[in-house]
């Protein structure tokens, strides 16, 4: 692919991940979606090729790549299947990143090698039944009693937290300081800790082959040393994690749009109505032109945001713009792709049906489109 921000290594990563996704994920995606089945085998294969810990340094078992490389990998998985892109994106951005960027040396050495190899997965427990967009309305509490954090509360919609290879989560808690002032602290809780239950959520509309969990804490005790970062830094960790997560959700939107566009174009080239392929009918040709245009713009915006991050420049506004634009392009393109497929697009035999469902999370997860607009508006001085 010709793009001013891509080098030879980025192109080789794209080619390799595309080959892997086509060979290993595509043949299973439809069946795993239908059965709501999370595949440990495929997750391990994604680990073997190096899709976890992509930006983590090699000393902790990571691949030591730049952010743009990681985003290209997520884009290419999403081009084939949303569920597995979600496992990779959440595994890196939400699972690994908080430990890598805020963990102490002992925590990094303990958890990162297995998470970087894809042998194990980790959750990021932020959202609660009453704390979605208003994440500061968190009700999960952590009290420091006799050298232990005692946690009570619950979390919901937590990716990668309850699969058979999930080993723990980073939990956002309310931990009031000595004066009773509200503060947030992030605490590591390993699966299997007494008082902690991770329960898989079923019957999702989308990402049905990814793992999503509800987490329950009932007088759950973990050592004081399980704190991630500093006491009171929970908000900072959460916001920083979400800034990076926005790039990978953007990549999921871009990849899904690319996959849906390719399906629609192929179908339109083969489907004959009124004596010629429908891509030769202006009504359909113009739809495809609009889809291609939006994908190009989405890619330019997302890659620019990654370039800013990789070059240690402020990227938060562009990350929010990328998440918003790419996810809305995914919605537009998937919708038009179904329209081009006509009645066949409504049948599960065609992958576009799954893509149409999978795109719907992207305008909601890791900050709704409305919250992205709020973030952008603050950056531009509103």
């Amino acid at each position: 692919m010709e793009h001013p921000l891509l080098n030879e290594q980025h192109n080789l990563i794209r080619e390799s991940v595309r080959d892997f996704a086509e060979r290993e994920i595509k043949p299973l995606a439809k069946e795993l979606d239908a059965k709501q089945q999370f595949s440990v085998e495929l997750t391990h294969k994604m680990g073997d090729i190096g899709l976890f810990g992509m930006v983590v340094s090699e000393e902790y078992g990571g691949q030591g790549l730049d952010y743009l490389s990681y985003i290209i990998a997520v884009e290419e998985i999403a081009r084939v299947d949303g569920s597995h892109a979600a496992t990779v994106a959440a595994g890196n951005s939400l699972g690994l990143n908080p430990i890598y960027y805020f963990g102490n040396e002992e925590q990094k050495k303990k958890y990162l090698p297995d998470l970087c190899s894809g042998k194990k997965l980790w959750g990021f427990g932020l959202t609660e039944p009453e704390a979605g967009s208003d994440s500061r309305n968190s009700k999960t509490t952590a009290k420091l009693i006799d050298g232990n954090w005692v946690i009570n509360g619950s979390k919901i919609f937590i990716t990668n937290a309850s699969s058979e290879i999930s080993i723990g989560s980073s939990i956002q808690t309310v931990s009031n300081d000595e004066n009773g002032k509200k503060e947030f602290t992030t605490i590591i809780v390993e699966n299997g800790t007494p008082g902690f239950i991770a329960k898989t959520m079923h019957d999702k509309m989308m990402w049905r082959a990814s793992n999503t969990a509800e987490l329950y804490f009932d007088e759950c005790k973990v050592p004081e040393s399980n704190i991630l970062g500093k006491r009171g830094d929970g908000s900072k960790i959460m916001l920083s994690t979400l800034d990076l997560g926005r790039l990978s959700i953007g990549a999921m939107g871009l990849g899904l749009a690319q996959g849906a566009f390719e399906m629609a174009l192929k179908y339109a080239q083969e489907r004959v109505q009124f004596g010629k392929p429908i891509c030769k009918q202006q009504a359909i040709a113009f739809k495809l032109a609009d889809m291609a245009l939006k994908i190009e713009l989405a890619r330019n915006l997302l890659y620019k945001a990654c370039w800013l991050k990789d070059n240690h420049k402020p990227f938060e506004k562009e990350a929010a713009m990328s998440k918003l634009y790419c996810s809305e392009v995914a919605k537009f393109v998937a919708d038009e792709a179904v329209q081009i497929h006509g009645g066949y697009g409504l049948m599960k035999d065609y992958d576009i049906e799954r893509f149409y469902r999978d795109q719907r999370l992207l305008q909601i997860g890791e900050g709704t489109s409305e919250i992205q607009r709020l973030v952008i508006s603050r950056y531009i001085g509103c």
Binding site: E8, Q9, L12, S16, D19, R23, G50, L51
Partner: protein, 249 residues
Amino acid sequence: MKILVCISNVPDTTTKIKFLNNNTTFDSAGVQWIINPWDELALTRAIELKEAHAGAIENITVVNIGPPTTEPTIRKALAIGADNAIRINLDPKDAYSVALQLSEIIKKDSFDIILCGIESSDYNGTSVGGMLSELLDYPSVSAVSFIDIDGDQLKLKREIDGGQEIIGISTPFIGIVQKGIAKDARIPNMRGIMMAKTKPLQVVEPVSTDLYTDFVSFDYPKAKAACKKVDPENVKELVNLLHNEAKVI
């Protein structure tokens, strides 16, 4: 033992082939270049041998004849697992010139196993391996679909009409491999891609050579005729078309 895998840089097999300048120039605009699929399988098998026989295989080198623009393809071979690479700085013109350049490289070093794909997916010449064998006076086996180390020798299998031929051979030799030599081409992992940046890629200048063929131009295959659909109940019409229009009966 040291293995040399010869790799060609070819257009992706899904490329729509177009020519320019009165059909005398291949239009490479927008073309995705790949390792020739047979060569990629040969490289995969070489890596499998190195992994299975730790210590027996000391090194895997890949060699390509091409201008600097082929280096991304060579880097991919390094990312897949080759230890080092050689690029002979020449835009190859025909099978003989390719075989001659390769033979000069092999004379300078002592490779035990030399693997070539049975053909390249662009020109499909199927000639380089045999010519290389002749130029070096090395034994060669063509259409190899299996290779393994068996004591001091190598055990090969090749497809023959109605079955397989099993061959034992000593080194050095040239294996001209076909599909089946490895199940699937290996996909580079992220660590391999990172490491490929720092693996040695030596550029050598070509030896001078005469060309024995004279390229004139390319030609497109005849366009497929439009398809006619006949009602399955209408056998008369079918026979009539086959007889009078297609003239095949």
